[in-house]
């Protein structure tokens, strides 16, 4: 199994004719992902790397039957792309785009929730199930299949952790980047619940950072609902309050969202928190 994406994923790429869209479509195809269609309004009838391009998501769905969409369109058009995917009946939408206004995301999140469409991101690297499907922008070659589920608010920090796991011979069931924005489609808790139910996941690595209280709610969920062990890493111990650390969501506001609070919340429920990314494999080994 694994979660969210696998070899049966039929992927639609929104914004397929753009520079990013074309590049990553090729990368995903090379990895073995089934990319069945692309959409760029006004470019219907063209082809990108052997993938047919349609003007609308509805047409692409009717012709090729995708169940997942990935979005590479610029921030000001990305909300519309997400509404279009949801209205066309796509079950899973992965939005890579960075820089979407937060009030747009408030509406998108509410609308997609009502439609029953699952959203990953925005401002995220995507989702990969090693050896099966890559739906995102992460370097595929650093991943190997295995029992560790990874969920993270970051991009390159996730690669760093995955690389450390792979070097230690610990493969990954699925690695999910949930995104660095203040309002995101799926939270840590949503993904932890999927890993808990996934028979191919034995351990979970959670990579959090300063800002918000998503990690604190994850700690509560782990204590109340999870049987599988979780190891955490929190970035931003040295971040000052009131300053945005790159990600729109990485900011200590009103004294909340500090790394210290998040680490304390995990330790309180018995979740080990690594002090360095390369300590994570050791902590997993110690779990036995």
């Amino acid at each position: 199994m694994s979660i969210l994406v696998d070899k049966d994923t039929r992927l639609l790429v929104q914004g397929i004719t753009g520079r990013e869209g074309q590049f990553h479509t090729r990368q995903m195809l090379e990895y073995g992902t089934q990319v069945v269609a692309g959409v760029t309004p006004g470019k219907g009838g063209e082809w990108v790397a052997g993938v047919p391009v349609f003007d609308t998501v509805r047409e692409a769905v009717a012709a090729t039957g995708p169940n997942t969409a990935i979005i590479y369109v610029p921030a000001r058009f990305a909300p519309d792309a997400m509404y279009e995917a949801a209205d066309a009946g796509i079950e899973l939408v992965v939005c890579i785009t960075e820089g979407i206004p937060v009030l747009d995301m408030v509406r998108v999140k509410a609308y997609l929730q009502a439609k029953g469409t699952r959203l990953i991101g925005p401002n995220c690297p995507g989702v990969i199930t090693p050896g099966e499907a890559k739906v995102g922008i992460m370097p595929g070659h650093i991943h190997i299949p295995g029992p560790v589920g990874v969920v993270s608010r970051s991009g390159t920090l996730t690669y760093e952790v995955v690389h450390a796991l792979t070097m230690a011979g610990l493969g990954q069931s699925t690695a999910v980047g949930i995104g660095g924005d203040p309002v995101i489609g799926s939270t840590f808790v949503d993904i932890l619940a999927l890993f808990e139910d996934d028979p191919l996941t034995d351990y979970v690595v959670l990579i959090g950072e300063i800002g918000g209280t998503d990690e604190e709610r994850a700690a509560e969920f782990i204590a109340a609902e999870m049987s599988k062990p979780v190891v955490a890493f929190i970035a931003g111990r040295t971040a000052p309050p009131g300053k945005r650390m790159g990600h729109a969501g990485a900011i200590i506001e009103g004294g909340t969202g500090t790394a210290a609070e998040k680490i304390a919340a995990f330790e309180k429920v018995g979740v080990r928190v690594a002090s360095r990314p390369d300590e994570i494999p050791e902590l997993i080994r110690e779990l036995g």
Binding site: F23, Q27, A75, R76, G99, I100, P101, V102, L103, D104, V106, R107, K109, A110, Y111, I137, M138, P139, I142, S152, R153, S154, G155, T156, L157, Y159, E160, H163, G180, P182, V183, I184, E209, I210, G211, G212, T213, D214, F233, A235, G236, R237, T238, A239, P240, K243, R244, M245, G246, H247, A248, G249, A250, G254, G255, A259, S275, R276, P277, D278
Partner: protein, 380 residues
């Protein structure tokens, strides 16, 4: 982007929220003229983008225009938390009977706006939230319905507001929500919202934070950015598409990706050093961008060593290495440097840097340890 009090209140007024009469002065003479025009006692308020202005002596009362000039003279040029006061707001003084808090923020957990009110106005709302959370009443707003009148009434009744003010309060709450929405704000607050001796509700102080990601559709708001209030290096970084925050340590950090940049900072601390900055060079790393980043990092005299940490994914290590080499040609740093390149094309990247005067490292931990040792003069 944080707005000044006077900017925030002017926006509130456009949405029907009553504010005191007043204007902004850049000199004591201007302050006197404004006080003269208002013809009543005034409050002189420092306009700087930090909290705690009152405690710092940046808010003073003046009975007449002559006194307004004296008080403005005292406040202008004052330093508040490292910022120099260049402007004061001269507002008519209000006769305050009661102080209320009213604000809208994005509730990240709910993914929706939440409006909050409290009978404890005029003080730091975060303090109220910590000490007496029961004094704060909240309503979550459905983004497709907006703030309904019944919700504003719930807030009014929840804070025990006298019924005489109910209609005005509801109007102000709806106005504030409309200002929040119309400006693409992530925070809009009136603190305090006062009831005056004359029985009127008035937004005495205001604060707004505008979503930087939404400024493309608000050119008028984008112009309100006060460059005098921002670190000049953070401004330069923004021009190059870099995300930079200056800190007070001695190890300059250049990293691709925000999360990894924070983790790199944290590791310098773990090994006994301290980061001089947060810097995310983003995806790709053309020489021009790397050079700008290096210039900005080295503009900080506290920097004793520079740590490059690049995890190549889509960004190729050889491309970054070329960027670093070109930047070194241009910037010629006088401090030791440590480079750690991992991922796509790492061998080519490392080979390119082999000729440069740089210490290399295989892992992030090793790189951080070496940078700390070099910064502290423990390693040649």
């Amino acid at each position: 982007m944080r707005l000044h009090e006077y900017q925030s209140k002017r926006i509130f007024a456009e949405y029907g929220v009553p504010i005191p009469q007043g204007d902004v002065a850049r000199s004591a003479e201007e302050a006197r003229q404004i006080a003269d025009r208002l013809g009543k006692p005034v409050v002189i308020k420092a306009q700087v983008l930090v909290g705690g202005r009152g405690k710092a002596g940046g808010i003073l009362l003046a009975r007449d225009p002559a006194e307004a000039e004296v008080m403005a003279e005292r406040i202008l040029g004052m330093e508040i938390k490292g910022l120099t006061v260049g402007k004061v707001l001269v507002d008519e003084a209000a006769d305050i009977v009661q102080e209320i808090y009213l604000g809208v923020v994005i509730d990240r957990a709910a993914g929706r706006p939440v409006m909050m009110a409290s009978s404890e106005g005029g003080v730091d709302i975060e303090e109220v939230a910590r000490l007496t959370p029961e004094r704060i009443v909240k309503v979550t707003v459905d983004p497709f319905l907006g703030l309904r009148e019944y919700q504003a009434r719930e807030l009014a009744f929840g804070i025990g507001l006298s019924r005489a003010y109910l209609r005005d309060f509801v109007r102000i709450a709806r106005g504030l929500y409309a200002a929040f929405l119309g400006s693409d704000a992530t925070l809009a607050e009136i603190n305090p919202l006062v009831i005056t001796a004359a029985g009127e509700l008035l937004a005495l102080d205001g604060k707004m934070i505008i979503d930087d990601n939404a400024l493309f559709r608000h050119p008028d708001l984008a112009e309100l950015r006060d460059l005098a209030e921002e670190d000049p290096y953070e401004q330069e970084a923004r021009l190059f598409g870099l995300s930079y925050v200056r800190l007070d340590g001695e190890i300059g950090c250049m990293v691709n990706g925000a999360g990894l940049a924070m983790a790199t900072m944290d590791l310098t601390k773990l090994y006994g050093g301290a980061p001089a900055n947060f810097l995310d060079i983003g995806g790709g790393a053309k020489a021009e961008k790397v050079a700008a980043a290096l210039r900005i990092i080295l503009s900080d005299e506290n920097v004793k060593a520079v740590l490059f940490n690049i995890f190549g994914g889509i960004t190729r290590c050889d491309e970054v290495a070329r960027g670093i080499l070109a930047a070194l040609e241009e910037v010629k740093p006088q401090v030791p440097m440590v480079a750690r390149l991992v991922g796509t094309n790492e061998e080519e990247g490392r080979a390119l840097l082999a000729g440069a005067d740089m210490v290399t490292a295989e892992t992030l931990a090793e790189a951080a340890q070496k940078a700390v040792a070099l910064a502290q003069g423990r390693m040649a």
